[in-house]
């Protein structure tokens, strides 16, 4: 889904160099969606909300429900990457008008379909989240997700995945590991 957004953005930028300028809504919507994703993953929830609403407003102006559904899917993907699972009600409301690609992605998010993840960090995190939901996650994948989130400076998924690690260490009774993970969490939260 991110690829779509990036494609949109790329088309817009390409349009900058030559040809007629792209329509405003495309530019605005893609910018907003990108901003939303960044904000949400970084933990700036209010900004994320604002950007998402702005994106949806722009897409509504087109009257194309499938585009709105896509936006909703992007949101659900971001949430999945942060281990916040739900049935994506925003998309379900528009499922009737969604295109094939959107529905397939929705199924993927719900864990009912498989999909090859790209090497992009966001896509990898989404994949990790989906696999967690499906119960097919390995510890290595957990630590990979932690590293990915850490590399990007994405607080939300980082905290979520660190939390998972912490719970696993607690269950195992490994006090030292718990302490280390907790210190890392505290570092992210700015509490030490």
């Amino acid at each position: 889904m991110m690829r779509f957004a990036l494609l949109l953005l790329g088309a817009a930028l390409a349009g900058c160099a030559s040809g007629p300028p792209p329509p405003d809504w495309k530019l605005a919507a893609s910018a907003s969606l990108r901003a939303f994703q960044q904000a949400y993953l970084r933990g700036e929830t209010r900004l994320a909300e604002l950007e998402f609403r702005r994106a949806v407003d722009e897409l509504r102006a087109t009257g194309r429900a499938d585009l709105v559904a896509r936006a909703e899917l992007i949101r659900c993907a971001a949430r999945a990457a942060s281990l916040e699972f739900d049935e994506c009600p925003g998309f379900e409301a528009r499922r009737a008008d969604a295109g094939k690609e959107e529905i397939a992605y929705a199924e993927y998010l719900a864990g009912r379909a498989e999909r090859a993840a790209s090497e992009e960090p966001f896509a990898r995190l989404v994949a990790a989240g989906v696999r967690m939901r499906a119960g097919k996650l390995t510890p290595q994948e957990i630590s990979a997700a932690v590293e990915t989130a850490s590399a990007q400076g994405w607080r939300r998924p980082l905290l979520a995945w660190l939390g998972v690690q912490e719970k696993r260490a607690e269950a195992a009774g490994d006090k030292e590991a718990v302490e280390r993970i907790r210190r890392r969490i505290a570092l992210v939260l700015g509490r030490d």
Partner: protein
């Protein structure tokens, strides 16, 4: 039967032949003494003197007794005959004044009743102007009352208040003392080394600093003059370098022309991005003010982890926790 019939033993003590004579003399002398003494007393009390009546009116006749003297210049000229109450509650003091002394009292005479701290009350008469007509018979005058005992508490209270005020004023921490102290300090400073300047700045150090600053300012002004001269010569050199042959300016000119073209292109592109940026700015304008709410984030993340606890448990069952593999050093 004669009265001398009854027999009695003759007395042992010798009785003179006619005791009656001596006894009669004694009794006569006694009566003489009594009469003359009574006469003397009557004279002393002025019964034989003609008197004039005077009535004194007062609110409170405490201390006045019948027979009390009315004195003028310390000399008794009359006495109180009766004390009665009038219908309006005031006291009537009836005074008898000796006629031969009555000429001391005039119509403008003042009568006072003085009650000293110790001792008896005194009725006094004062005459200010002897030229006024004489006091008439049966005159009525008000009696002024001077009760020291009543005045004493008031006097003491006033005195105490005054003393307290003086005390406060002269206390070491009173404003008066403060002002005096300040005045003294100021005058001391004025007489000191720094003179009036020191007095106003309050501190020798400050005064010195001010003087030093003045010195420096002078020196600075002197040096600025020198620098200005040097600057002139530098400017002259720069001019030659910039605008002479093979000058930097030429090359810069050409580069600038090229840059202009690129800039024009970029400007176009930037215009489109401007629109995006404008939007983004508007959107984030509000939120930028708010910092990332980490506490809320933490709360949300914890909530979501709790929700996926069952998934974590599944993983725990399948794969036990291994510190080395999982918790890599970043």
């Amino acid at each position: 039967m004669s009265e001398q019939g009854y027999e009695r033993e003759p007395g042992v003590t010798p009785v003179p032949r006619n005791p009656g004579v001596r006894v009669g003399m004694l009794l006569a002398f006694t009566i003489l003494v009594v009469v003359s003494f009574v006469g003397y007393v009557l004279y002393a009390r002025g019964v034989f003197e003609p008197t004039q009546r005077l009535v004194l009116i007062t609110d409170n006749a405490e201390g006045v007794r019948v027979g009390m003297d009315l004195t003028f210049a310390g000399f008794p000229i009359g006495h109180v005959r009766r004390i009665t109450l009038r219908e309006d509650g005031k006291v009537r003091i009836g005074v008898r004044i000796l006629q031969r002394e009555a000429h001391w009292l005039r119509t403008t005479s003042v009568f006072t009743l003085e009650l000293p701290l110790i001792g008896e009350a005194k009725l006094r008469a004062y005459t200010g102007n002897m030229g006024d007509p004489q006091l008439e018979h049966r005159a009525e005058r008000p009696l002024l009352r001077g009760d020291t005992n009543a005045e004493v508490p008031r006097m003491i209270a006033t005195l105490r208040a005054v003393l307290e005020n003086v005390d406060r004023m002269t206390a070491s921490s009173s404003p008066l003392q403060e002002s005096l102290r300040n005045a003294r300090v100021v005058s001391e400073r004025m007489a000191g080394k720094q003179g009036v300047l020191g007095a106003f700045l309050g501190d020798e150090e400050n005064a010195k600093k001010v003087l030093a600053a003045l010195d420096r300012a002078n020196k600075l002004l002197a040096s600025v003059d020198g620098i200005a001269l040097k600057l002139d010569s530098v400017l002259a050199k720069t001019d030659r370098r910039l605008y002479g042959e093979g000058a930097i300016a030429d090359q810069a000119q050409r580069a600038a022309v090229q840059a202009n073209a690129v800039l024009a292109e970029v400007r176009e592109k930037l215009k489109t991005v401007d629109a995006i940026l404008a939007n983004a700015q508007a959107a984030s304008g509000n939120v930028r003010a708010a910092t990332t709410d980490l506490a809320a984030l933490r709360a949300e993340v914890e909530a979501s982890i709790r929700k996926v606890a069952h998934l974590i448990d599944e993983i725990n069952r399948k794969w036990p926790f291994e510190r080395d593999t999982e918790v890599k050093l970043p």
